[in-house]
Amino acid sequence: MKQSTKPTLHLSDLKQNQKGIIRHCAAEGMLKQKLLSMGFIPGAEILMVRNAPLRDPIEIGIHNCLVTLRRREAKLIKVEML
């Protein structure tokens, strides 16, 4: 896999309206399949749209779509900030 030299952070750590590129995804099994089919693959550009009113889950923009996921799951995805 391509190694980026830039520092990465968890998807869950992005602030509202920050953009990033997915670099790595540590999910396995069902979660991995689900993420893949929604387009969470290394190289994909994502936008942190907003937190839920109770801060969890979070809303992510990816491939022109809006997708929600819980922080626990977002933690498994490493992104490079744009």
């Binding site: 896999m1 995804c25 540590a26 999910a27 396995e28 099994g29 069902m30 979660l31 991995k32 399949q33 689900k34 993420l35 893949l36 089919s37 929604m38 387009g39 693959i41 290394p42 190289g43 994909a44 749209v49 907003r50 937190n51 839920a52 009113p53 109770l54 801060r55 969890d56 889950p57 809303e59 491939h63 022109n64 779509c65 809006l66 997708v67 929600t68 996921l69 819980r70 626990r72 799951e73 498994l76």
Partner: protein, 811 residues
């Protein structure tokens, strides 16, 4: 006949297209063994017949979610001739991910670009010819909501059905190609499905496919690790990446985004609807509106539909053999019992219809997943899901709902464990039929404190549901499949009236079909249990004696009138009493003066001799009328006493008494037991049974007063009963729906007996405590409430253990 399957990702407008193709002529069922909707229709177009099946919406073809498994199994097993891939034209890039996998199947495909109007509004310019050429398939543009493209679609399907695919579409999977070729060699199976597709899915370690082609899992595991060692590639991720890369290439060659950074209407709306401060107030308003429109207004609407049901009942009673005073023929008793059971449920149809229509609107608009997004954090704490909100509200999270639509609304919850937990907790909500029971007991024992008691009752149920959900998900449900909370928030759409109404009608009809049949079957059983062995001979003789006494008194009173020859025989008197009763029943339903006149005329035409005695004008007739009224009253009183005697003696009565040794700890005597047992058929009957058991002829008292004056119960008895009713088991209709939605009789039985056990234990516990510490009824209720609140808070502070699917480890 050409078999056509509609496939597409969720929110692509697939159902709208299906509705457009099928009109009202559609068949809704479940896929065998699973609770996923299977919609199909047969249509004729230019002399050809097409059978169209609507597959569940899927993003991909992995084996993880139920919908994906169903859709894949269907495509594998059925000899589908043409696949229609419906795509949201405004999010073409992601949609192509599924399209590629469908193309690889090697079957003729028609690509339907739906929502072209949205795409145009967003200034997306799609080069249809180019796209068609690159993917080598037919493309139809459509706007499902405006019924554009139906003819073109059918023409394309018809053309496609005559096609044979010689060389299926191929994506170049680079490093994987040699492995795919190796697996293709291994597949011996002859199939209408492309061998390459099977090989690709086998390499993706798809369990369903591996079983089908008979390749050992270990072989694939070896390949996967060799790929990992050789190229440092993860198989699943690489497949996904290559598909997305191909989609990107196709997208950029065929689509021009003219207005790239435009703020869509959806994102503007979301800024308000999902705003940190506004989200909860808006959610509250939406939930309140649903409740108000469906439950409150729907209940008012039943005032208009009830007369029709009552008229039907009167009509039926009229054609059944008439009663001779207290001797009611069995067939008449049975007929009335069955009609009462049926109309008790049919009465709720306006509520269901409004409710189902509103749910359909929320689904269409796209607010449902947003509701889940807002509330997920709260519900997750208790093992539920953001999507549990609506089922709980419909079930009666405020006072008054109905568990049946509530449980039906659990269909969309993706997480199997949370879905089952929701199904099992919705019956704890306060259904509309529980309310009369509460008001009966509160009216009898807590007249002063009715408001605070009602507040306790209506808020405690939701907390109990949360506790039970937490209890179940961490015990019996802990091994159930759960799903990660990954959900698309679709763009907002305006609902389409036709499709909303169609779905509401379909769901109401499904309810009538499935629920009514079983409820009626159980009603028969209950009838037998209540009817037999019947009143003893000695008691019967007593009743007969009383009847004769009343008849004699009547005879003496009317002897001197000029009408006497009309009513000097017992059969004539009985006829007159029946006429009097049936006129009174009809008169109650008549509101306007004109209607009364025409009712009178109709009765007079039918009974020219006797009716003047029911509506007397001269002195003699008035005298008789007075005597009939008295006789009718005595007759009714005797009938009620007989009914009570019958219930007391009945099998259900015996059962109620047999339960006394256990239920006495909660303070329930056999009469309460019988009331609870009969409430099982429909909750309404609890009040009716309890009321009639206490009525005992003291007919000038309201049921509340007669229970309060009976002296057998104290306020703490009442609270004990209230606690049991709060936790009480679902009624039969609910049980049927639990069975339908959980697909298991075991869960249905669990859903019945768990609440009964819990209810009796808690009632007994608090009854005992109340006696020990001599609490008043209010104190007992308050202490119960405080305990529940504390328990909820404690559970909320504990971290939930997540199981079922693993986050970081492989399965």
């Amino acid at each position: 006949m050409t078999k056509v399957a509609l496939a597409g990702q969720p929110n692509c407008g697939k159902s709208t297209i299906f509705n457009m193709l099928s009109g009202v002529n559609q068949h809704v069922a479940n896929y065998p063994g699973v609770t996923v909707d299977k919609k199909s229709t047969t249509i004729k177009f230019q002399g050809e017949r097409f059978e169209i099946v609507d597959l569940p919406g899927t993003y991909s073809f992995s084996t993880y979610s139920l919908e994906e498994r169903v859709a894949k199994t269907f495509l594998l097993d059925e000899d589908t001739d043409v696949i229609v891939n419906i795509v949201d034209a405004s999010s073409l890039r992601r949609s192509l991910y599924l399209t590629f996998q469908l193309l690889e199947l090697g079957k003729p495909i028609v690509l339907v670009l739906n929502m072209m109007d949205v795409a145009r509004r967003r200034e997306l310019e799609i080069d249809i010819d180019k796209l068609s050429e690159m993917l080598n398939l037919q493309i139809v543009e459509a706007v499902g909501t405006k019924k554009h493209g139906k003819k073109e679609m059918l023409e394309a399907i018809s053309r496609a059905s005559r096609e044979t695919i010689t060389e299926p579409f191929k994506i170049n999977y680079n490093e994987f190609e040699s492995y795919i070729a190796d697996i293709e060699e291994m597949i011996g199976l002859e199939s209408t499905i492309s061998r390459r597709w099977l090989a690709i899915k086998a390499l993706e370690a798809d369990r369903v496919i591996l079983d089908k082609v008979g390749i050992n899992k270990e072989i694939i595991k070896d390949m996967t690790s060799s790929i990992h060692a050789k190229y440092d590639l993860d198989v699943d991720q690489t497949f996904a990446r290559l598909r997305y890369d191909s989609a990107d290439i196709v997208y950029h060659k065929c689509v021009k985004e003219k207005n790239k950074n435009a703020d869509t209407l959806t994102s503007k709306l979301d800024r308000i609807v999902l705003n940190k401060w506004l989200a909860f107030p808006i959610l509250g308003v939406v939930i309140y509106l649903i409740y108000q429109l469906s439950i409150v207004w729907g209940y008012k609407a039943t005032n208009y539909t009830w007369p029709f049901l009552a008229a039907f009942k009167n009509w039926l009673v009229a054609i059944l053999p008439a009663a001779k005073f207290i001797d009611v023929p069995l067939i008449t008793d049975f007929g009335i019992w069955m009609t009462n059971s049926a109309i008790a449920l049919l009465n709720y149809i306006p509520i269901f219809f409004i409710l189902f229509a509103l749910i359909a609107i929320l689904e269409d608009v796209g607010y449902m997943p947003r509701m889940a997004f807002i509330l997920d954090r709260v519900f997750r704490k208790f093992g539920l899901h953001g999507q549990s909100t609506l089922p709980l509200v419909l079930g009666g999270a405020f006072v008054g709902g109905c568990a049946v639509p509530g449980i039906m609304a659990t269909k969309g919850i993706a997480d199997e464990r949370a879905r089952l937990a929701t199904i099992l907790t919705v019956p704890y909500m306060n259904c509309l039929a529980k309310v009369p029971f509460y008001t009966l007991l509160l009216g009898a024992f807590f007249k002063e404190d009715m408001a605070i008691m009602m507040f306790f009752i209506s808020t405690v149920t939701l907390l109990i549901a949360l506790i039970v959900a937490r209890l179940l998900t961490s015990t019996v449900l802990s091994n159930r499949e759960t799903a990660p909370f990954i959900m698309e928030l679709p763009p907002y759409h305006l609902p389409i009236v036709r499709s909303v109404l169609l779905r509401a009608v379909q769901r109401v009809w499904l309810y009538i079909k499935k629920v009514m049949t079983i409820v009626l079957a159980v009603a028969v059983v209950l009838f037998v249990l209540l009817q037999y062995p019947g009143v003893s001979t000695e008691k019967m003789a007593e009743f007969t004696q009383q009847r004769d006494k009343a008849l004699n008194a009547f005879d003496i009173q009317v002897q001197k009138t000029k009408y006497y020859q009309l009513i000097d025989e017992a059969s004539e008197v009985s006829q007159l009493v029946n006429l009097y009763d049936s006129y009174k029943a009809r008169r109650m339903l008549t509101k306007t003066k004109g209607a009364v006149v025409s009712l009178d005329d109709a009765f007079l035409a039918k009974n020219p001799e006797l009716f003047p005695l029911v509506r007397p004008t001269d002195k003699g007739a008035k005298k008789i009328n007075k005597a009939i009224r008295k006789l009718s009253k005595v007759n009714k009183k005797l009938k009620i006493e007989m009914k009570n005697e019958k219930i007391t003696n009945s099998f259900l009565g015996m059962f109620g008494r047999a339960l006394e040794p256990v239920t006495q700890y909660a303070g329930f005597d056999w009469r309460v037991n019988v009331a609870f047992l009969s409430s099982f058929a429909a909750r309404e009957s609890a009040v009716a049974t309890l009321g009639s058991l206490y009525e005992k002829g003291k007919s000038n008292l309201s049921p509340e007063e007669s229970i309060a004056q009976d002296g057998a119960y104290t306020p703490i008895h009442a609270v004990s009963m209230l606690l049991f009713m709060i936790l009480t088991p679902p009624c039969i209709a609910t049980m049927v729906v639990v069975k339908l939605q959980s697909n298991s009789y075991r869960w249905m039985l669990f859903a019945t007996f768990f609440p009964i056990t819990l209810g009796i234990i808690l009632s007994a516990l608090f009854f005992f405590l109340a006696l020990q510490f001599s609490w008043s009824g209010i104190e007992m209720m308050r202490n119960f409430y405080i305990s529940v609140v504390l328990l909820t808070l404690i559970l909320a502070l504990f971290k939930t253990k997540q199981s079922g699917w693993q986050v970081g480890k492989s399965q």
